[in-house]
Amino acid sequence: MKRSFRRPRPVAELRKEKERKERTPEQEGQEQGPVLVPDLAANIAYLEARIGSSNDVVFREFVIPLSTPVRAVLVFVDGLVNGNAINEYILLALTTFEGTDAAWARDRRNLAENIKDHVLTINEVSIQTQWTPVITAILSGESALLLEGEDRALICNTRGWERRGIEEPTTESAVRGPRVGFNEVLRSNTAQVRRWIRDPDLRVKGIKLGVRTQTDVALVYLESIANPDLVTEVEARLRKIDIDSVVESAYLQEYIEDRPYSLFPTVQVTERVDRVVAALLEGKVAVLVDNTPFALIMPITFWQLYYSAEDYYHRWPLSILIRMIRFLAFFFSLYLPAIFIALAVHNPELIPFNLAIKIAGTREGTPFPVFLETLFMEIAIEILREASVRLPAPFGQTIGIVGGFILGDTAVRAGLISPIMTIIVALTAISSFTAPSFGVAITMRILRFPLMLIGQIGGLYGLSLATILLLINMAGIRSFGVPFLSPVVPLNLSDLKDFLFVAPRWTMIKRPLLNEPLDVRREGSKANHWWEALFNPPSRRRKGGGQEE
């Protein structure tokens, strides 16, 4: 018989719940923060006390020429607003409108609504009664219009600040494909996604995160495709975040990942718009964060970290080749130095005789054991890599040449390292650059060092055990419920068509089942199975020679 344990709830938690139940709705409202009062001077004084001491906060006072003129003040932050929008659609509209004697103009009880409905010509206006959203709106680039005798503020969307243009993503370049990356403006980024997917089911849910920064975060998904459980889970994890500031999407990534202590990222980071769009169409969810071009995509599997957006832009035979080379490079970047050490130290008999003689010849006279030699070289490469990233681009290239070529060549000539070691380390470094995801490339770099040590101590046996240990660890990782090693384990035959091999596009009739999409079938294909589609390519259908799907 299985026992069921019920964890006792802490007393403090119970007390809080009791207090919450006993509270009246009025009390609940009061807890949301202070509210505006129907006294313009008092409202201005309050705002000045909270944010007015900053030079960039502008209080523009004016009079609205109604039958009984009304004093008003427009509050905004200089630099965050579009000056033209304020001048033309708020100030000009409010001071020069016709119909000052109209019936609505005499109705003072609904002044805010009437001004919103009849005067303001700006595209987005809302009414707020509490200070917290008003202040947040002002600090987000919106303008607050306060009126004499009104305990409500009109919030006008006047956002407009200096922004970087849409540029080619620097971290994920591609030979073929759109040269469009995200920038630091959230609205621009969501607009880009919408420009790509003109589907009414595209949802952009806004959340504010960061107590101090009040950063805008957008949860983007296709309602008719993404699994509602996934969307709910992502949203719940985001809403649970209690953080002081969100400076970059990495801040959120650490909070929402399934295994925050794992070396492997379980959320994909990208600045490519097309990548986000493709993910949404597969039933995934994207999180865009204001002030950063890096979007988060979830769920993700280990293998998908090695997929590039470009894989889908070439013809399928080329894509297969590219992807296989990339997986081979992954193997090299992780294991090559460790296997070399294991073979050289413990099992030289495994190396073909002629090659073994050559290697022994080149290592003749080198002062360090093979493990230390590899370790020194790997550390040198890591230092060079870090230096070249931190320096300005022209210097970075110089450092690369000086370090990689001159230093390596000199070290070989001086007999400090063997030429074979230079080849091994260079091949490893180049292989690690093939990883499309920066996060997984770093993971491989971190894992390479303990594997080298294991290769030295335990040889191929040690490496086998280490690999098994790594697999055990990876098998335990889930990304929003999706097993990290799928579709390989647990095996999912349908999803294998986009794994080592990239199947022809017309055979990909189903979206990846791992994400458990609501709408499994991609539009435009009538075949029931991929093999049906495989033997009925578009060319046959075009000629009318093939079977009707």
Partner: protein
């Protein structure tokens, strides 16, 4: 067990049974088969496999009758408290003894090829640590690791067997069932062979985690069939390559088979080492599943949720026992005892429990 915890597919069950069976036993199976039935040894393996398939069917039917429980929970109700406890203890001891034998086989393999002269504490100790760590993971994680490792090992094993076909002599498999070659009095070898087949307990221990319990019989039979085919094919290949007399003489006949292959492994000089490296994963799956089953069985027996405590607690005992199996003869003797226990459970325990479940089925079991 709530329905939410059912996460193993029937394919994973098949592979778990395969992963538990295919490991160290296959390395010596052809020698034992050749000793008993000479050139027709592969026929003996086939017959044994079919026999075990029958028992697997019974075990799977039994498991399907109790989809919410493991054998540890329902055996006392069927056999009575005393006999039930005795059966459970035999069941757990049988599973536990697989671990030291498994560790020792690995130690031997590593010492004769990859790391000659490496100390026992290093090879066995590190292996046992990884085994114990893996066995403390949730069952779906274990199933995933097993799924990957056993497939890789089987593919490489199949590659070696197929490559060795270049030396295959059909004449080595003849004459079929010659009286001169049949030694049915070699009971020890005959029983020792069953060590490779004893993977049925898996199904009775993991059935509460299977997503579709009604598919358990199909999955078990599929696994038994694959095991039988793999063993028969491998034994036939080995006897076909070496002849039955030479097969009997070879201790690690599978490694000799790999050595017989002339093709260089692209950039590596020796193919047998590649087989050993890959076969570590096959051995690991056996040890991993055995460790997990022992922990799970003890957890169910003592109604304790922290199964990891049993696994870590028994790890030093397994290590100690593995060090006692000093050479090939000692560990083959140990595997003989494991096989005896396996035979008792398989051909006595399961049929009896199944019959009792049918008899008592009218009443509430």
């Amino acid at each position: 067990m709530s329905g939410n915890e059912r996460f193993l597919s029937s394919r994973q069950i098949t592979l778990l049974i395969l992963g538990f069976a295919i490991g160290g036993g296959i390395l010596t199976l052809p020698s034992l088969a050749a000793e008993v039935l000479g050139a027709s040894g592969w026929l003996l393996v086939l017959a044994l496999g079919l026999l075990y398939m029958g028992s697997a069917w019974i075990a799977a039917r039994l498991a399907a009758k109790f989809p919410e429980e493991t054998i540890i929970e329902y055996s006392p109700r069927l056999l009575g408290k005393g006999f039930g406890l005795l059966f459970n203890l035999v069941f757990i001891v049988h599973l536990f003894l697989v671990i030291p034998v498994n560790i020792r086989i690995l130690q031997e393999l590593v010492n004769i090829s990859l790391l000659p002269g490496a100390p026992v504490w290093f090879v066995s100790g590190s292996y046992l640590l990884v085994l114990a760590y893996g066995a403390t993971r949730p069952v779906d994680q274990i199933a995933q690791v097993n799924e990957l490792l056993i497939e890789i090992a089987l593919l490489i094993g199949l590659f070696v067997a197929l490559t060795a076909f270049q030396h295959f002599e059909p004449l080595h498999l003849r004459p079929l069932l010659s009286r001169d070659q049949i030694n049915l009095d070699k009971i020890e070898q005959l029983i020792g062979m069953t060590f490779s087949f004893g993977s049925i307990p898996v199904v009775n221990m993991v059935v509460p985690y299977i997503r579709q319990p009604w598919q358990v019989t199909k999955a078990t039979l599929k696994a038994s069939l694959v095991i039988t085919m793999v063993y028969s094919f491998f034994t036939a290949t080995t006897i076909g390559v070496f002849g039955y007399k030479e097969t009997i003489e070879l201790s690690w006949v599978a490694l000799e088979l790999a050595k017989s292959v002339n093709a260089q492994a692209v950039i590596l000089e020796r193919l047998d080492l590649v087989l050993i490296v890959s076969w570590i994963s096959a051995l690991f799956t056996t040890g991993l599943i055995a460790c997990y089953l022992v922990g799970a069985a003890l957890g169910r027996l003592f109604r304790v949720r922290k199964e990891a405590a049993f696994i870590w607690g028994l790890a030093p005992v397994a290590y100690y026992l593995s060090t006692k199996l000093k050479n090939y003869f000692v560990w083959s003797q140990a595997s003989f005892y494991v096989a005896v226990l396996s035979l008792v459970i398989t051909f006595l325990g399961y049929p009896l429990l199944y019959l009792l479940s049918l008899v008592k089925g009218k009443h509430r079991v």
